[in-house]
């Protein structure tokens, strides 16, 4: 039997608030944003100016999809770099500070 799924789980496992945990969260946000982007949800951000991206879907659904895209976009642009930077800072600390102690 293949050990591939188990290996993935082990690879994915990370201690809370560890560098790996931050990178894992950054990856989840990035993948979610990529999916939303490829699904064309960017179009629905037109709710910001009061225009429905699709008259058929109606105002509420358009606003819901647009808001979802907005949240993922800002998470990708603001949160992901912060998580990566924080992970790097923690990794640097572990490598150059903890070992010396």
């Amino acid at each position: 039997m293949s050990r591939f799924p188990q290996n993935i789980i082990i690879l994915w496992r990370a201690e809370f608030f560890s560098p790996k945990d931050f990178l894992r969260r950054a990856l989840v946000i990035s993948v979610a944003f990529l999916i939303a982007h490829l699904a064309g949800l960017r179009e629905y951000t037109s709710f910001l100016n009061g225009t429905m991206a699709s008259v058929e879907l109606g105002w509420k659904m358009c606003a819901f999809l647009g808001l979802g895209y907005l949240a993922l976009y800002f998470a990708f642009v603001l949160v992901v770099p912060i998580l990566i930077l924080a992970a790097s800072l923690l990794a640097i600390r572990q490598k150059f500070f903890i070992k010396k102690i």
Binding site: N49, G50, L78, I82, L85, A86, L89
Partner: protein
């Protein structure tokens, strides 16, 4: 347990440091030079791509119908204003790129003819919001200064690029109507909606009259001086010194100074009274323009006026009070007054938060719509036509 708390503590410190590093750096990802948005000569890449999208819309009836359908579901005015801003943009583009003038003129004529046809067939209410029918216009027969002013400016700018005999009479008639209806009010105000006069529409109308004077050798300078005198005396918000955005036919204030209006007003007044226009721009910049973490945007209302989010402002983002409508129109003001730093920062915000989408060298902003994109295109190409009318060096 102790190690978990320590990890959370150290991790939180790392997150705070990362936030302090990243947030001020974000602006550099979206920063570019002002001439990448508004070129001094020719067209910027952004203008070319925005224009390509609009020219495609006007050659693909299905696409156009789709876009207009989406906008008309919210606001019929946008259908009309999208046409106006595009024609005004194409006029400036024709002066910037004489080799493409024929193509631009063809599209301008198509839009103008189609708009005049609809106006004649469907009447003024087709391009107005439904509340236009809620009560009668005070001045009869019912006409909208909003439609007359923008159509006059379309005709005038088209003729300024190249004379077209059949538009001469149409423009003269429209100008006579504008002046006559304004003169019938004690504050030179004409209605866009029943007993509702808009500063935006008056500024556009004044610009059209000025260009018509330039074309046909007329002189409305006394009329302009009188309008400016009355505006300074009766149509200014005392706390900010900014022109108010709407008022009744007798000059009673309705809405205070409004971002989605004042930037364009200041730009149009450049043709009438350059000093007053610049003063209005600088006041608007101070009262409405904001920059946070290197990203510029504009408020819809000044702090001293408590106004709501409406169809013109678009969504207002709380706390920072960012108005999509005012921020987009601020690009027109910044371009018109060559406020390079503000322009560059606003353009950065546009790329950061208006969701540009490029396809086959055609650019649109997803958070915008056809009228918004046409206004952005106008912001990226304006100046040559005003310079021509003012007798300054042509580009």
């Amino acid at each position: 347990m102790k190690s978990l708390f320590k990890r959370i503590f150290v991790g939180s410190i790392a997150l705070i440091i990362a936030t302090v590093i990243w947030l001020p750096c974000l602006q550099f990802v979206f920063r570019y030079k002002p001439n990448q948005f508004h070129a001094d000569t020719g067209l910027s890449l952004k203008s070319k791509r925005l224009a390509a999208r609009h020219l495609e819309l006007w050659t693909e009836p299905k696409l156009l119908e789709q876009e207009l359908g989406k906008m008309r579901a919210s606001n019929a005015e946008w259908d009309f204003m999208g046409r106006s801003f595009l024609v005004w943009s194409l006029a400036n583009m024709a002066l910037r790129e004489p080799e493409s003038k024929a193509t631009y003129l063809q599209t301008m004529d198509r839009i103008i003819d189609e708009t005049l046809r609809i106006e004649q067939q469907e009447g003024i209410y087709f391009f107005l919001m439904p509340y236009a029918k809620s009560r009668p216009f005070k001045a009869q027969p019912a006409r909208s200064h909003f439609l007359d002013g923008e159509i006059a400016l379309m005709l005038a700018m088209r003729r300024e690029v190249e004379e077209k005999a059949e538009y001469k009479r149409l423009l003269t008639d429209r100008i006579n109507l504008l002046v006559e209806r304004m003169q019938s009010s004690p504050v030179l105000a004409a209605e866009s909606y029943p007993d509702e006069c808009w500063m935006f529409d008056h500024a556009v109308a004044l610009a059209a009259i000025k260009i018509a004077d330039h074309l046909d050798g007329n002189d409305h300078s006394t009329f302009f001086r009188e309008w400016i005198r009355i505006a300074k005396q009766k149509l200014v918000h005392p706390e900010t010194g900014l022109l108010i955005s709407s008022y009744t036919r007798d000059g009673t204030q309705m809405d205070g100074p409004e971002g989605s209006s004042i930037w364009m007003v200041a730009h149009c007044l450049q043709l009438i009274d350059e000093d007053f226009a610049r003063d209005q721009y600088q006041r608007a910049r101070k009262e409405l323009g904001r920059t946070t973490l290197g990203f510029s945007y504009a408020r819809e209302w000044p702090i001293s006026w408590n106004g709501p989010a409406d169809i013109d402002s678009g969504l207002i983002i709380p706390v920072l009070e960012i108005s999509a409508g005012s921020s987009g129109m601020a690009l027109i003001g910044a371009s018109a007054f060559a406020d390079e730093q503000f322009l560059s920062s606003l353009a950065g915000t546009l790329d950061f938060a208006a969701f540009p989408s490029s396809n086959n060298n055609r650019l649109k902003y997803c958070a915008s719509n056809q009228v918004g994109d046409a206004a952005l295109l106008y912001a990226s190409v304006l100046r040559p036509l005003w310079q021509k009318v003012k007798g300054e060096t042509k580009l």
